[in-house]
Symmetry: C2
Subunit: 148 residues, 2 copies
């Protein structure tokens, strides 16, 4: 398997969402650091740690096939020399579904390695309520449901 | 309001969880960067962006009073000169509840600012299933429920 080099964290992020849309496990794992200190949290899922768990999580997800379309919006970036963090909303379209899903909130962390920028953390969680992120105002949560 | 200086990201993280346990809004906001590019996602909540939304989110949460106890476990750290990322499980104990809650998975991002290390991203989401994190094996998710 050839190794891809991502010159910037954004290059790695673009490859991440391409791999997600294509449901390509090989392409996905080429985005990730080869270190054991990697973390992946899928929406409503447990924390997956290390190469084996992270790969297995994607393998299971991709077993359902491809066809997702992901539009990333509202990016906030925190970038240093070695570490970059992208906070985004993922607006996901699923084939055959007419209604837009609520966006998924994701925190993506990239590390500058000897082999270019690689993902080390992907933390995704569903956001409540709205049907499309572009129309939905981001408002503080209400009521007593919040419990950290 | 006096400004606290956190010499390390870990100092900022310690202060974050102290403020959470004390339900102290002032102490909490002293942990955060004064920049507008801050993001806070409470479990099952929308993405809160900027000073006003982040503060209001904590204000509402703390309006319910204090008494939570938070034990942080399974920390994975990614650290650069200017940015540090801590991925943790938060094991939360609520007064009056006998059963332990499933852990909350959190990604905490800290930035080295002119005023020391400050939090810029807190992304928390509930993890499914287990009753105590120390006993629960971290296993890959199963079944077709996973949809990114």
């Amino acid at each position: 398997m050839s190794t891809r080099i991502f010159p910037t964290a954004q290059d790695a992020e673009n490859a991440f969402y391409e791999a997600l849309e294509r449901a390509s496990l090989d392409a996905m794992m080429q985005v990730w650091s080869e270190d054991e200190d990697i973390i992946c949290v899928h929406p409503t899922g447990q924390r997956l740690a290390g190469q084996e768990q992270v790969r297995e999580g994607w393998r299971q997800m991709f077993a359902g096939g491809s066809g997702l379309r992901v539009q990333v919006t509202q990016k906030v970036t925190v970038a240093g020399m070695m570490v970059a963090v992208h906070s985004v909303n993922e607006n996901i379209t699923v084939p055959g579904e007419r209604r837009a899903r609520p966006p998924v909130v994701a925190t993506n962390v990239y590390l500058r390695t000897a082999a270019g920028w690689r993902m080390v953390v992907h933390h995704a969680s569903p956001s409540p309520g709205s049907t499309t992120v572009e129309q939905a105002p981001v408002v503080p949560p209400t009521g007593p449901k919040i419990l950290h």
